[in-house]
């Protein structure tokens, strides 16, 4: 089982709550995939507490642990204040820390990220940093107090899947004991499975499920992929070979000539 910040998680799938056709479909997708965590955010309240309250009622009914995020924050200061407000609003000190460098790539700003991670860890937050595969940045996040790392494998929402498998392998090899969660860039269940096979501990998804033709079916497919990927990792896969090797024994072949 995967344990982060002393808490044992019920699965290796974290699911985002945005962009679903309806709150009901979000709820069905969550029931179909049983994620360990649901990510949520906070936004300006409009018109008397009615904004997205249908959404909020649905999420509370699901009874799944929440991981608030600081999505859209472009500075450490914004992210810190947003995290403080999220802690009160959602009643949890877990926070998915996003500090975004610039718009078109939604790439983590690693300087703002480390600064915010230090400040929030000092305030007792359990920080889940959205980061890159940069190992030097990862070391500073761990020094700052993070007990989990969430590298991207491709730009957010790009659905491209792992773009640099060597970099993912290096990060896994360099931090054998740190929970590593691939956050962002996954488009297909086979992408999620691939990173689990590499030994990553979990994945965080949103667009790939919410944007599918059938989000509920896709949520289930990802849940199975994550389970199978971990099982494959634990079962010891074959290494690729250059030459072909027969499966059926060649000993004892008949001769009909």
């Amino acid at each position: 089982m995967l344990t982060i910040y002393g808490k044992t998680l019920s699965s290796r799938l974290f699911l985002g709550t945005a962009q679903y056709p309806s709150p009901a479909i979000l709820a069905d997708a969550a029931r179909a995939s049983k994620p360990a965590l649901l990510t949520v955010s906070l936004r300006r309240e409009m018109a008397g507490g009615k904004t997205g309250s249908g959404f909020w009622d649905v999420v509370r009914e699901l009874g799944i642990d929440l991981l608030p995020n600081t999505a859209g924050c472009h500075s450490a200061k914004e992210a810190i204040t947003t995290a403080q407000m999220a802690r009160e609003l959602f009643g949890t000190d877990w926070i998915k820390l996003e500090v975004i460098g610039h718009h078109d790539m939604l790439q983590p700003d690693v300087f703002g990220l480390v600064e915010a991670a230090r400040a929030l860890s000092a305030e007792g937050f359990k920080v889940f940093p959205y980061t890159t595969t940069d190992i030097g940045v990862a070391e500073r996040l761990l020094e700052a107090g993070c007990e989990v790392l969430m590298p991207w494998c491709a730009p957010i929402g790009s659905a491209r899947g792992p773009q640099d498998v060597q970099a993912l392998k290096s990060m896994r090899g360099y931090f054998p004991d740190v929970p590593l969660v691939v956050d962002a860039g996954l488009g297909r269940p086979s992408h999620a499975m691939t990173v689990l096979e590499l030994g990553y501990d979990a994945v965080l998804l949103n667009t790939a499920v919410a944007g599918a033709d059938d989000p509920v079916g896709m949520a289930r497919a990802f849940a199975l992929a994550v389970e199978a990927g971990r099982l494959a990792f634990e079962s010891g896969m074959l290494e690729p070979r250059d030459m072909a090797v027969p499966s059926t024994p060649t000993f004892g072949m008949a001769e009909f000539s």
């Binding site: 949520v40 959404f55 909020w56 667009t207």
Partner: protein
């Protein structure tokens, strides 16, 4: 008194943050508040006096990835 609430100018009668939340008909437990860029926790709203031109942020739960 005139405030900037969630980015929009508004004329309100409330003089304290807790009263403002009620005046705006928000559910007290489902919003988080900040004044002039600093968070104001729920239990401090009652003590938090508002000043002309304060920038108020009132945030609630939303979908997130």
């Amino acid at each position: 008194m005139k405030l900037i609430i969630n980015g929009c100018e508004a004329q309100v009668s409330a003089t304290r943050l807790d009263a403002l939340i009620r005046e705006l008909d928000h559910q007290d437990q489902w919003v988080a508040t900040a004044v002039n860029g600093k968070m104001v926790p729920r239990d401090r709203r009652v003590a938090h006096a508002l000043k002309e031109g304060d920038r108020i942020e009132i945030l609630s739960p939303m979908q997130g990835g």
